[in-house]
């Protein structure tokens, strides 16, 4: 499968890292890409279920262009949200629907996480696609 350039760049960045600690640092660096969802907007609807950390995700579609806002109490989860933000922000609905969560696997991000967090990643991904689908 060929990925959009932004996603491919993420894969490339991770694939070069040998050291697990560094990989986690890079992951956490992605937290800076998050467009933060203010605490006042956190609710049951945008809560990521089944994630042991607290995490919220909201997707807005404006003129067919997708944008995600999010927040989490753990830096690594924020990092995952940052990566998802890069993958979806500014994309069209179709581009988002064409994505699969496998890119994170390919980058080796999920292996370096606990099972509950890699599940959390998939859950967030699914939430995004669901909301985008609903926006059609």
């Amino acid at each position: 499968m060929s990925w959009p350039k932004a996603v491919q760049d993420i894969i490339d960045e991770f694939q070069d890292i040998e050291d697990q600690f560094e990989r986690l640092e890079v992951l956490m660096d992605f937290s800076e890409e998050v467009d933060e969802l203010p605490v006042s907007e956190w609710n049951e609807n945008n809560l990521v279920k089944g994630c042991q950390s607290i995490a919220h995700v909201v997707v807005v579609v404006n003129d067919g262009i997708v944008h995600m806002k999010s927040a989490a109490d753990a830096k690594m989860v924020q990092g995952l949200q940052g990566i998802l933000s890069i993958a979806v922000n500014g994309s069209t609905i179709q581009q988002v629907l064409d994505l699969t969560p496998d890119f994170a696997e390919e980058a080796g991000i999920l292996n370096s996480l606990t099972p509950s967090r890699s599940n959390g990643f998939r859950t967030m991904f699914d939430m995004i696609q669901r909301e985008v689908r609903e926006a059609i």
Binding site: Q20, F21, L24, A74, K75, M76, T114
Partner: protein, 398 residues
Amino acid sequence: MGDSMKHDFPIFSRLINGRPLVYLDNAATTQKPSCVIDAMSHYYSSSNANVHRAVHTLAGEATEGYERCRTLLKQMFNSNYAVITSGTTEAINLVSHAWGSHNLKAGDVVVLTEMEHHSDIVPWQMLAEKTAIELRYVPVENGELDMDAFEVALVGAKLVCMVHTSNVLGIRNPVEEVISKSHSAGARVLLDAAQAVPHESINFHELGADFMAFSAHKMCGPTGIGALLVSDEAFSEMEPFMGGGDMIETVTLEGSTYQTNEHRFEAGTPRIAEGFGWAAALEWLSSVDLESHHERLLKIANRVADQLREKGMTVYSSLRPGDAAVVSFTHPTIHPEDFARLLDAQGIAVRTGHHCAQPLMQKLGISGTIRASFYLYNDDQDADIFLSGIDRVLEAMA
């Protein structure tokens, strides 16, 4: 000291993320020496058979090896009865069914504490739902049992269930005092000794508790096996729990009669290989000076705790003499799971979360801790690696 002992444990030749394993998750489960692993392989490779009513050589060897585990338990802990279970949790559930269901009725009081492991809470909550017994929880204040509150709770109680040594805080409760006061008040005492038995030698008969539960896997033994020690008086008050092969004397369509010794509570093919493994672990542990290791580890834990405090962490363990070397802490801003994952990246294994003690977490006002727990094979070098691992995490998150 610790280092040379590591040679007995094959897992320490393992690299984790390119680094030698520093295993500080011992309160969850301990590592196994070669003699334990080999005892099980050897059983499967040369004596494997079902036990009891043995008419062939293998069955005789299997029975002897399995029952030897029980004999060792009785000798090491000085108990007339050692019921073999699948672990601490099943042992406590056994008490709640085999003793509780038959000796407690609506309105009877069972005293628990706020620092119990879920395995010593949920069985009693379930029994309370069925038979309307009353549960009273002794509060924890400043990381310690409130003994005044205990005496109040004790009034009219039939049973006191208490963790001997906490898996979250490492604190050793004043079990001697608890037992003598409980007995004076006419209450039986169940000790959850899952964390105690690995750390101190216990003479069950002298201590005087009625029930004591623990797991092999927390004392260098295999998974899937544990024990319930029972006093003579309490044993005579127990009725069978699970039914099936091996626990019966006679079965007819009209009804059955049961064995009178421990087999009464052990239905089905027992944990045979696990019995061989645990016997090896018990013998290995007997060759170790638990007390001096305990002091050594507590010193290490105290050094670690002091350093963690200096580095800005909140430490919940008080680590006084007699306590287990368990350091539970949090960082003001770093999520415990991030913290643990960054330690793991450096080969350091710790645990995070509520440690199956949510009520204690609620009392402490936190959702979880990072827990570093030390055991026999851990040494000062492990502590140093752990502390510099912490520094690297703090730098990375700064």
